[in-house]
Symmetry: C2
């Protein structure tokens, strides 16, 4: 008898018919002799509706306000957990709903984006020992002083992985509206292939680069606790993609996938005085303003007296970043500032990179062949990222997908 | 400094604008130097939506299913309590939402219609001592083993009165969509008057007779604990109706109000053998089938050998009642059964009846004058009820309202 954690996202429980469909999927695992813990999101659209209500009554100035924000936005998962438990019982499967406070599912006090501290397992274990499927409201926990918290958008992925880790589950199945993780976004690259296996580290890079299949935190947590996560479709009946340790992938491809993000804006400061401490002068004030800086390059000017600094921020932060830099112009001592919010980041990712040389070179050559200019390059052990003009993004994605041999073999009819 | 409990019903918090309006009403009490506990219903329509969802996934066969029913249907009050607390804070009034389990608000295990056992006051008192308005989610509590319960439809009235009793509040203001308790339904009797005072006992009769201003249980509880309840409008700024002890009403009118109920059906069994135990034979099986019987009359036939029995049930129970009686025909030994679901009950109510004679006679005379036939009569110390054809109900209400001198004096322009 295996212990399986199943997670169903907002579109998977989007209406009553779909909740009934989810119950059938749970029933199948139970009928196969497994113990099941299910965790669910709110019905699609409900959490957005709640956030909208909150924003209409409050500007959420103080941290304490976020405690009541969490009371409101956690309600959607309460509803779906209750409905799913009821549906299961109608199918003859004993079940009960569990809210964060009933478990209890302990978190930090950072309302709106709490971190999980400890999941007590006794109460649920006892209920499961009595043959009941546990249907856990996702996304929510409680603080030490019994206030409701939420885990941030997409938090039910993290709830699921944390439950799997706490209960030592044999597998954590994340049911969603796509049937797995792809080599690239199939809406842009028609020949993208579904991956059977992907390494945690790769998934982490993909998740943080905008492949919105899993919340980044959930991947981190799965990696740290060795949780065997499967991403699969709620609407089709076939295996999905399994997240595994790098050493469990026997034959590593050079590149596993290509991710992109359009949420990028570039800032270039030119003729910055080239003296020690200049990086701190630029990036310190930005960090204080809570603006995340991503890619950074610095080039010395031909005369060697000044330097040009280019970096990227999220597009929504550009305006604030410019203001912060202008306010600190005296300490930074730059001559000109250029900005561009028409850029995008493209990344090739693969643990195979560690053992294959020439991955970056292949990327640069392919882009050059298509006359696509590279603005910034950054690399890590398992990733090469470039910043390019946004208008080339589809072309670049498809060209690289072919160049790295990722294209699906089209079957002949 | 007084302690005020305020309750706002579903239409009073029906949308964001109304929630903001409610916050202003709370603020006014706080600005007047009072301590405030607010309790709120779900936004109008939400609880019905939740019940509908539940009925789509489950037939609610077993008692355990109602525990998850309560998880679902209690969510609406969670949302409004959070939103109102947030709105208050935006107005500069420190506040926080309290859910049933956080208080805790202890109830019996009768999910769906739980009885209140004990409200712990320590946590809320401490929070109020720190200057925070307590915004309590109405309608909900928890059992000893930490499962959510709900108090039945209209339960937030009972939450409010119970909070007022537990905290020894100076007043319990029930804000609703009418501006008080009337001598009769103003939609039928244009000259109905709003009452300034009404005795608990009178209100109890009116509530159970279909004047749906307050949940009956809340009136009972207010009477038992001497809670000073005021019913007033959320949408107008004027005093409402105060519920008081009978001895606090100095000048008692003969009749305080006239209530009616259309939810009535009549059953007559004729030629029932007139022998001991026949009432038990009729009403025992109905009670077992959970069918409430209201008015009962029994007349012996002219020859003295048999008897006719007439009684009323709720209209929705008529079909089931007929089946139960047919199934027990042998033990009851009746000849014929006649039923009529076109009847209505009309009641004149007033504690003044105790000291005024002729109230019933006045009623019979007035109805006779209008040629309205009385089918059944029942009386209590402070009430006379008659069953009449439903089609005469408006005519009868207006005639009695005038006859008892209840008509409002129309002001001359």
């Amino acid at each position: 008898m295996a212990l399986i954690v199943q997670k169903f996202g907002g579109t998977s429980v989007g209406d009553i018919e779909r909740i009934c469909n989810v119950a059938e999927k749970v029933k199948r695992e139970v009928d196969a002799g497994n113990q099941v813990i299910v965790t669910v999101s709110a019905m699609a659209g409900i959490t957005n509706q709640m956030v909208e209500y909150v924003e209409q009554v409050s500007s959420l100035e103080d941290a304490e306000a976020f405690a009541d924000y969490d009371v409101v936005v956690s309600s959607g998962e309460q509803v779906t957990s209750g409905l799913l438990a009821l549906r299961l019982r109608s199918l003859g499967i004993p079940a009960r709903a569990w809210l964060g406070w009933q478990i209890p599912f302990r978190t930090s006090r950072t309302h709106g984006k709490a971190r999980i501290e400890k999941i007590e397992t006794d109460a649920i274990r006892e209920s499961m020992a009595n043959g009941r499927v546990a249907v856990v409201a996702g996304f929510q926990g409680i603080t030490e002083d019994n206030r409701i918290t939420t885990l941030g958008r997409g938090g039910t992925d993290t709830s699921a992985v944390a439950l799997a880790a706490a209960f030592g589950a044999d597998r954590c199945d994340i049911y969603t509206d796509v049937d797995g993780v792809y080599t690239a976004d199939p809406r842009i690259v028609p020949r993208a292939r579904k991956l059977d296996l992907v390494a945690y580290e790769e998934m982490l890079e993909m998740a943080s680069l905008g492949a919105k299949v899993l919340q980044t935190r959930s991947v981190e947590m799965a990696m740290n606790h060795g949780v065997k996560v499967q991403v699969l479709s709620s609407f089709e009946d076939k295996p999905g993609t399994l997240l595994v340790r790098e050493d469990e992938i026997m034959e590593k491809e050079q590149i596993t996938g290509i991710a992109y993000s359009r949420d990028e804006a570039r800032i270039t400061l030119s003729d910055v005085a080239d003296k020690p401490g200049i990086s701190a002068a630029i990036f310190g004030p930005l960090a204080e303003a809570n603006i995340n800086v991503d890619m950074i390059v610095q080039n010395v000017t031909p005369d060697g007296k000044a330097t040009d600094v280019t970096f990227t921020v999220a597009r929504g932060d550009l305006e604030r970043a410019v203001k912060v830099l202008e306010d600190n112009r005296d300490s930074i001592t730059f001559q000109n500032m250029h900005t561009d919010d028409g850029v995008a980041k493209l990344s090739v990712i693969g643990v195979g990179m560690r053992s294959h040389a020439g991955v970056a070179q292949q990327m640069f050559a392919t882009l050059a062949e298509k006359n696509i200019n590279i603005i910034v390059i950054t690399t890590s052990e398992i990733k090469v990222s470039v910043l390019i003009d946004e208008e080339y993004i589809e072309l670049a994605l498809r060209a690289l997908h072919t160049a790295y041999g990722l294209d699906a073999v089209v079957e002949k009819g």
